[in-house]
């Protein structure tokens, strides 16, 4: 476990800012005044409270499975990939949201893109190629993705057009259980 270097911090913030924009600052200077930090452990980036992080220092690097919330991981090429485990963080701070019709919920949870037919609601003025958090109509976050169309374009799109490209969904907890940091123990 170690703090991120400057380059790593930039990579993480740039990726997060695609979803939560300037709210990245709110992850460092939280509203509840608690001190949180980012830590790297075995290529995974964790967002954790200072208290928990200090406790985790007692555990050797090899045996520390995970701590706090896993935000994502660094690939071998030092690219940062966001993971589904950070969905609660994203849904709290995200700028743009998409709501799914019940008919396409399961399709999305199996890793498919969101088509116009399944689109229930979308935040006004969502630009193209922006990270969005996907909710069901009841308001439960289901995953996240990238918009393939703006809100205006989505209105004109045909029913089979892809509106949001799938990036992560809660179905991954079951489908990729062995890769999930939360299941590392």
């Amino acid at each position: 476990m170690r703090p991120l270097t400057e380059d790593e911090t930039r990579a993480v913030f740039e990726k997060l800012s695609k979803f939560i924009g300037t709210n990245v600052k709110l992850m460092i200077e939280r509203k509840d005044k608690e001190i949180y930090c980012f830590r790297l452990q075995k290529d995974r980036v964790y967002y954790t409270s200072e208290e928990l992080m200090k406790k985790a220092t007692n555990i050797s690097r090899d045996s520390l499975a995970c701590l706090g919330t896993c935000v994502g991981r660094f690939t071998h090429h030092k690219k940062f990939h966001i993971l589904i485990t950070c969905l609660p963080l994203l849904s709290e701070l995200c700028e743009f949201k998409v709501w799914l019709k019940p008919s396409q919920e399961m399709s999305f949870l199996y890793g498919n893109h969101i088509l116009k037919a399944g689109l229930g609601r979308i935040t006004e003025n969502t630009p193209q190629n922006t990270g969005v958090v996907v909710y069901n109509m009841a308001g439960t976050p289901l995953g996240f993705g990238v918009t393939a169309r703006t809100t205006q374009e989505a209105r004109k799109a045909g029913p089979t057009d892809i509106i949001v490209l799938h990036q992560g969904d809660v179905g991954e907890y079951l489908r990729f259980e062995e890769q999930n940091p939360a299941c590392a123990v």
Binding site: S17, V24, T57
Partner: protein, 281 residues
């Protein structure tokens, strides 16, 4: 087959005598006339008497036209040695000589050279004292030395030949190439570059220059130690504040509006337009 037949048959065919190929682009059904036309052309080529083949008449094929794919480039012919050049000039041909020669003295066959040969000094009890020998000089050692010198000379020539034919692709040390012309007009190697190649040479040993004796004023050239990656401490009291500050700074830098690229006017005050106007006046 008359010549007109050949002309008829050759219609719509492409020949590549070098590769002994013919391509029939017209019909491609009956291939016999194509093959026949190719043979006809091959026999029309100029015939030469080849001495190396015992005076047989041969035909030298022209260079092939069709590009045939090949994994590696065609190996270049090795450069001929100095002797080969000389032999060719004088017309000396290589002849196979017998290893064994008849020796009149011993009335037996002996090897031409080497062990137990006629030239060998092993079984010679006495040698004549010739006039070219100095006082007290041993004729046996003189002969031995002469043989040794000859071997050395041949070895030197062999090395020279090898050096001449060595591939030119291998790069020599950088500075030794970059010869500049000095003030006197002679080529010289700048001191800095010489020092650079000396440094490279110092490390170019099996022990990376570690166990080599230094010569004269030669400076030490230790292997640079790779720097360890350094990370911030995982946790210390002052650390987290510094870390947060730095993180905030990075976040702010990301959200700074990117400066728009400044567009420079394409035509300056003395550009084409201005010049044209000046011409008019």
């Amino acid at each position: 087959m008359t010549s007109t037949d050949v002309v008829d048959a050759e219609f719509g065919m492409e020949f590549d005598e070098g590769n002994m190929c013919v391509f029939d682009t017209s019909t491609g059904e009956d291939l016999a006339p194509a093959a026949q036309a190719l043979v006809h052309r091959l026999f029309k080529l100029e015939r030469v008497v080849d001495g190396s083949l015992g005076g047989m008449r041969v035909v030298k094929l022209p260079e092939g036209v069709t590009a045939i794919p090949r994994e590696k480039p065609v190996p270049k012919a090795s450069e001929s040695t100095k002797w080969e050049v000389f032999a060719k000039e004088k017309g000396i041909q290589k002849k196979k000589r017998d290893r064994m020669v008849w020796d009149e003295e011993s009335q037996s066959f002996k090897p031409r050279y080497g062990y137990k040969s006629r030239k060998s000094l092993k079984d010679v009890p006495v040698l004549e004292h010739t006039s070219d020998l100095a006082d007290g000089e041993n004729p046996f050692t003189k002969k031995k030395r002469a043989v040794k010198d000859l071997v050395e000379k041949n070895e030197k020539k062999r090395q020279a030949n090898e050096k001449k034919s060595r591939r030119k692709g291998a790069a020599p040390l950088p500075s030794l190439v970059e010869v500049e012309k000095g003030p006197s007009g002679k080529g010289r190697i700048p001191q800095k570059q010489l020092a650079k190649s000396a440094k490279i040479a110092q490390r170019s040993t099996a022990s990376v220059g570690r166990f080599d004796k230094r010569v004269g004023s030669e400076a030490d050239n230790p292997q640079p130690v790779a720097q360890r990656r350094k990370f911030d401490p995982v946790s210390n009291d002052g650390g987290i504040k510094v870390e947060r500050k730095r993180a905030l700074k990075i976040a702010e830098r990301i959200f700074l509006p990117k400066p728009e690229p400044v567009q420079e006017p394409k035509e300056g005050p003395l550009g084409k337009k201005a010049k044209k106007q000046r011409k008019k006046h």
